[in-house]
């Protein structure tokens, strides 16, 4: 008797305020394992806040959040959730190598002092190899291109063994070639069963990347197959006039 696997992410009717600012207004989003969901919205539409809510960094006033079939806290303790931050959130001059950063994916599995064992080194090597930055592993993390930086953070999630991947604006400041590499990588990870949510306000990568898309404007206005969501009349709802496929302007 096969039961359907639990949703990777199941956000229901979530409301979040920052002081007076209403960031999320009964937003709901459900993403199954093995699927890539594009989260589309203008700057300030609540994309980052939705990720923070999924990770339990922001406590919703209303609504519920389930991750990987349990509470967000349980999923975090199990190492099930990986987050790839927006570029602006990272100190790129921090004195760590690419390998050091990817190793941080293993910390949840390590003991008191987080001293890595052989298996952890192997997991990190494999992850670096997988995303194609292995030759750059001993570089300082800031000495990578925009696309390589993003892939290094995805490698951290792979080394972690995460089943749910949240990527906040992974295509900002990334050239087309790197973008294509990233799309391929995420598709592979989804094919292996990861549930992936990618926020973006840049739409042209979405048809290839995402199985489904959700339009966010404090609420999830529309959630469905990517091609349908990307129809101009639907985008107009979220962007007002973003009919040329660009979110900005």
């Amino acid at each position: 008797m096969a039961t359907a696997p639990a949703p990777a992410v199941d956000v229901r009717e979530v409301t979040v305020h920052y002081g007076e600012v209403l960031a999320l207004d009964r937003a709901s989003l459900r993403v199954e394992p093995g699927r890539v969901c594009g989260l589309i919205g203008m700057n300030g539409s609540g994309k980052s806040t939705l990720f923070k809510t999924i990770m339990g960094l922001v406590a919703p006033e209303h609504g519920t959040v389930a991750v990987d079939g349990g509470t967000s806290a349980r999923a975090r303790r199990a190492g099930a959730v990986a987050y790839v931050p927006q570029s602006e959130e990272v100190d790129w001059s921090f004195p760590l190598t690419v390998r050091d950063v990817v190793m941080m994916g293993r910390y949840g599995h390590l003991g008191l002092t987080r001293r890595p064992r052989r298996g952890d080194h192997e997991a990190v090597d494999a992850a670096l190899e997988r995303v194609g930055v292995a030759p750059l592993a001993s570089r300082q993390i800031g000495r990578l291109s925009g696309g390589q930086r993003k892939r290094a953070f995805v490698a951290r999630g792979i080394a972690q063994g995460a089943r749910v991947l949240l990527l906040d604006e992974p295509f900002a400041g990334v050239d087309r070639d790197s973008e294509a590499t990233m799309v391929r990588l995420l598709r592979e990870l989804a094919a292996e069963g990861a549930g992936i949510v990618v926020s973006t306000h840049d739409l042209h990568a979405l048809p290839e990347l995402a199985d489904e898309a959700a339009l966010l404007m404090r609420r999830v206005l529309l959630h469905g197959p990517t091609a349908q969501v990307l129809r101009p009349e639907n985008l107009a709802m979220a962007f007002g006039l973003g009919l040329d496929g660009r979110a900005e302007r």
């Binding site: 975090r76 190492g79 004195p95």
Partner: protein
Amino acid sequence: MSTLATTVLDLLLDPLAYDFMVRALLTTLIASVVCAVLSCWLVLIGWSLMGDAVAHAVLPGVVLAYVVGAPFALGAVVFGFLAVGLIGVVRDTSRVKEDAAIGIVFTTLFALGLVLISVTPSQTDLNHIIFGNLLGVSWPELTQVMVLGAVVLAVLVLKSRDFTLYAFDRTHAHAIGLRPRLLGAVLLGLLALTAVVALQAVGVVLVVAMLIIPGATAYLLTDRFGRMLVLAPVVSASCAVIGLYASYYLDTAPGGTVVLAQGAAFTVVYLASPRHGLLGTRWAARRRRLRRERAGA
């Protein structure tokens, strides 16, 4: 040749004939190493101002601890956390920004410390807490410095990787089920304890120098955090020794001289560091330009 060696040896050993100089040397060495190791995280997290604030804010705690006969460390930690808590409250519940909140809270607590000192009758001069009294450190005080220093270093070494993760990416720490807020609180507690260690050496006013300069200097020298953790204490301890000897022979204030030595070391590194120094980066830019011009020609 051998006479030169003997002279140098004499210069180095002469001061150590005095018991108080031995204690002074041990105190500065321990304080400089502990501060330097902690400073590697402080400069990367961006807690320099916070370090200054906590170092000043512990003063009333230390004075009160003196009055009731409790360990200085206890008073320091209580007031360290009180300061951080008050800063958070002022920042979050008013329109005052964080830097102003820090400025208001730590100066007020520091002032409270000054007032408490002025009304506290004491045999030992509590003003020494403010400006340091390196040459007057007693054996019990030195013992306290050793114990606190060992505790702080042990925790820093044991949880080194967690603190680095906290400094680099708190969100990831949270995402993998660690408790970044707890890590931050532990780091603040260590900061308060370190302030007690350092104020024995250089006094409250100059503690912040010991908490920032070594880490910042090491940061200009390397792109590896592991190397920072070695370079910072080595530089800091060297400056402590040089500063203390200089103060002995020049008859200057020892705490001030030690910090001056650290400032000098930073200046040299700032100018000459091959990777991130002013001259190094200028030269690198020049070489690149020349190479481009040659390639273009």
